[in-house]
């Protein structure tokens, strides 16, 4: 692996930023104190923890006490949904809660919802998306019930990048809120935080999920914004950390890393334009150079760094392997590459046949992606597609 790879899978994970890494380093073997301790080493750790919390709170425009650190977006999403349902059921044992979500959520939302439904613990409405992978905000209003306790919608999709009308949904929910606070609005911003405004006041949300490793921070760390007064019960019990909502000794190095990564996310607009320009170049040239390519979703209504393309008569995993041979890292929604052997539910939700999903590849650009890298991809891609289409023959 001495060869430099062209990494176009930033939606899967990002490298830890150098500045972030430097900030994390002291917290492994020098400033290793437990923030709960009373001696100097511990109070230094406590200070670092509280500073990190402030930074994340600033990014979201909320109070530091409304930030809860978790092990990542998967845990944040699970905690948000399961924690709300648990609390509601404790307080309203006679009523089955109703939840609204979309059919293109990340598995850490979708599978939680399906499990709750299957176990009979909640009623769940999965909102349909358009061909562009976007829900209709009005549907949220349409499906609200007296027992709706949560609406959970991702800010932007991880496979095709489609941006959801979360501000509009926030408004709808705000004006339909009961005195009890229900329904609450949760946004999974794991994929969007890099590019979109995450001010919780503007979004009108009660809960919001962040992930460290999608924003050039470390893996294994995330945060959940929980608006003061949001009724949620913890899923694990322990020593009282994170206001008893998520106990366990704080993963301080990672928390500091997450905060440092968040601080680097300032002024998104210029950055977004630049990356969108490269992404559009990738799409436009690919369409010119290669026949029978379909763009999945609508890039102009999506995150600026994602291009999801289907190459007819080519299977995604094969294409990923071929590109990997040439030093290019991408991913696919093909059933052949999934553990479940089912095509990507996101791609089928936007109307793709299993065959079209079979031939899909996601390119996701990042901070360091250069024009030269995209041009190298554009040089390699037609040849690789051609070879696989030759193997496909008359099929």
């Amino acid at each position: 692996m001495s060869k430099k790879i062209i990494y176009l899978d930033h939606a899967a994970t990002t490298p830890v930023d150098e500045v972030v890494f430097q900030k994390m380093k002291p917290f492994f073997s020098r400033q290793y104190g437990n923030p709960s301790g009373l001696y100097a080493l511990a109070s230094e750790a406590e200070k670092a923890l509280s500073k990190a919390r402030q930074h994340v709170a600033q990014f979201l425009g909320c109070q530091p006490a409304e930030i809860y650190f978790t092990s990542g977006a998967t845990e944040s999403n699970n905690l948000a949904i399961l924690g709300l349902v648990k609390r509601f059921r404790q307080e309203n044992p006679q009523t089955k809660p109703h939840l609204i979500t979309t059919s293109i959520e990340h598995p850490s939302v979708l599978k939680v919802m399906s499990a709750l439904k299957k176990e009979g613990l909640a009623e769940v409405t999965f909102l349909k998306v358009s061909e562009e992978g976007i829900i209709d905000a009005k549907d949220v209003k349409k499906y609200l019930r007296p027992n709706t306790i949560l609406v959970s919608v991702m800010y932007a999709n991880n496979e095709i990048g489609s941006i959801q009308p979360v501000k509009e949904i926030g408004k709808i929910i705000s004006s339909n809120k009961k005195e009890s606070g229900y329904p609450f609005f949760h946004i999974d911003a794991a994929q969007a935080a890099n590019y979109l405004d995450c001010s919780v006041k503007k979004l009108n949300c009660d809960l919001l999920t962040l992930s460290g490793h999608k924003i050039y921070g470390p893996k294994g760390i995330g945060a959940l914004y929980l608006k003061e007064g949001t009724a949620l019960s913890p899923l694990v019990y322990g020593g009282g950390q994170e206001q008893n909502i998520r106990p366990g000794t704080e993963n301080l190095a990672a928390i500091v890393g997450l905060a440092a990564a968040v601080v680097k996310l300032k002024s998104p607009k210029a950055k977004n334009k630049q990356i969108a320009k490269l992404r559009d170049r990738l799409i436009d040239k690919t369409l010119k150079l290669i026949d029978e390519v379909k763009v999945n979703g609508n890039p102009q209504k999506s995150l600026p760094h994602i291009a999801n393309l289907s190459f007819r008569r080519v299977e995604g995993e094969s294409l990923v392997f071929e590109l990997s041979d040439k030093g290019i890292a991408v991913s696919t929604g093909s059933a052949c590459a999934s553990k479940s052997l089912k095509p990507s539910p996101v791609l089928t939700a936007i109307g793709l046949s299993p065959i079209a999903a079979h031939s899909s590849v996601r390119f996701s650009l990042g901070r360091t992606t250069s024009k030269a890298e995209i041009d190298y991809l554009l040089k390699v891609l037609p040849k690789v597609v051609q070879r696989l289409r030759t193997i496909a023959g008359t099929n």
């Binding site: 299977e315 093909s334 052949c336 052997l341 023959g393 099929n395």
Partner: protein, 123 residues
């Protein structure tokens, strides 16, 4: 996740492409995952003298297509019918468990081709 032998067959598949003078061609597909596979046979005196394949599929599907054509070439129809998924997997140095169903397509395609050939030559 794949063995060297699998990668080798994926990179340089054997017996690739259709046969112009094929006696039979069978196509099988897996509607769930989307893999499609075609096998062509030229048969002389109940022996497979030439064989070709065309596959839309993952690395495992392409490699098993290539390997089954290698295993079937020169065999009698009776012998070729006995080629199992396990035989192919063994020759390829193993296949990931999750790839079983892609890989079984190759066996299905060969058996289908032989079946069609035998039916044609009965009547």
């Amino acid at each position: 996740m794949y063995t060297k032998e699998v990668i080798k067959h994926f990179r340089r598949p054997k017996n690739l492409g259709p046969l112009k003078n094929a006696d039979v061609c069978a196509q099988v597909g897996n509607p769930i995952c989307g893999d499609v596979l075609k096998i062509y046979l030229k048969v002389i005196n109940n022996k497979i003298t030439q064989i070709g394949f065309e596959t839309i599929g993952c690395v495992a599907a392409i490699a098993t297509s290539s390997m089954i054509t290698e295993l079937a070439k020169g065999k009698t129809l009776t012998q070729a019918k006995k080629i199992t998924f396990q035989d192919i997997a063994k020759q390829l140095g193993g296949l990931p468990k999750v790839k079983m169903h892609c890989s079984q397509l190759a066996v299905q395609a060969l058996q289908q081709a032989i079946k069609i050939y035998e039916q044609k030559n009965k009547s």
